[in-house]
């Protein structure tokens, strides 16, 4: 099943697995992977690692947010609107879907009264405020360090 064509990296994702965590990624037109030596290619054997190497920094935060699905977050937008809600889902562009939302700051935005669920475009997010106890900073640091090393290669 052809899933999505990412215009930025020209990667074609064929989701052979039924879960999101094990998509098989076939990269077209990504020079560093195509010309990689057999030695380095053997380290990219698992589908998830291949996905990570192909999408690098984007994938890191996408995975991070996926691990936070179901938690309560506050999203502050670039237009200074702050929305509190439960993280329902996130996508590769870091677009966020929140359920059960409420505008945290004084409600000078009355038009949101009858809205329970919303979709927020990734490009307009300024901050995503997370509860401190939900985030494993050690894990995040290690993952970021791995990404930085892979980027250098």
């Amino acid at each position: 099943m052809n899933v999505s064509f990412n215009p930025h990296f020209e990667c074609d994702f064929n989701a052979l697995g039924d879960t999101l965590n094990n998509p098989a990624a076939h990269c077209v037109g990504f020079p560093s992977l195509a010309s990689s030596s057999p030695a380095s290619r053997s380290t990219l054997s698992s589908p998830l690692t291949l996905t990570l190497a192909c999408r690098s920094v984007f994938q890191l935060f996408y995975s991070f947010f996926k691990s936070l699905v179901g938690k309560d977050v506050v999203v502050e937008l670039k237009n200074d609107l702050s929305i509190c809600g439960t993280l329902h889902s996130v996508d590769q562009y870091l677009n966020i879907k929140l359920t059960d939302i409420s505008v945290t700051d004084p409600e000078k935005y009355p038009h949101m009264l009858s809205v329970k669920n919303c979709f927020i475009r990734g490009s307009v997010v300024r901050y995503v405020q997370l509860p401190a106890d939900e985030v494993d900073t050690q894990l995040l640091q290690d993952a970021a360090r791995k990404e930085a090393i892979q980027q250098k290669q």
């Binding site: 099943m1 899933v3 999505s4 215009p7 994702f13 989701a15 999101l20 998509p23 996926k66 699905v69 937008l77 670039k78 237009n79 200074d80 609107l81 929305i83 329902h88 889902s89 996130v90 996508d91 590769q92 562009y93 677009n95 966020i96 879907k97 939302i101 009355p110 038009h111 949101m112 009264l113 009858s114 809205v115 329970k116 669920n117 919303c118 979709f119 927020i120 475009r121 490009s123 307009v124």
Partner: protein, 133 residues
């Protein structure tokens, strides 16, 4: 925005009544008919809702195609949830007049602020076109 389960997709929001907030501050309400991977939206029976204080006014706009980059937020309108309790609907002319006055007042304060900042050698860039890409 793809068909992999668990990701944020607008597919389930099609044909439902939605409210979209645009980058220029406008609010559009209508039935979402079509989407794509850039969050470009096609709205049907669109109404532009203008809010000034506790009053609001609706201007019927027909069919709208919104370019994805201008979308801030898209929210599904719950028809069951009571919403107009604090808000008072007024006629189009009245709300446009209120909006004009509000814009005028805002521009005045903005001008004064800019002048004060300029006197101190500072300038704050406007937020809405910070990252054109």
């Amino acid at each position: 925005m793809n068909y992999v389960p668990g990701t944020a997709s607008l597919i389930d929001d099609i044909d439902k009544k939605h409210l979209v907030l645009l980058r220029d501050g406008r609010t559009l309400i209508g039935y979402l008919r079509s989407i794509d991977q850039f969050a470009n939206l096609v709205f049907h029976q669109t109404v532009e809702r203008i809010h000034v204080g506790k009053k609001f006014g609706d201007i019927p706009r027909g069919i709208f195609i919104v370019r994805g980059e201008n979308v801030v937020l898209l929210g599904e309108i719950d028809v069951d949830k009571p919403c107009d309790t604090v808000l008072q609907q007024v006629s189009i002319e009245e709300i446009l007049e209120e909006q004009r006055l509000q814009q005028q007042a805002k521009q005045e304060t903005e001008k004064v602020k800019m002048q004060v900042l300029k006197d101190r050698g500072l300038s704050i860039p406007k937020a809405d076109n910070l990252d054109e890409y």
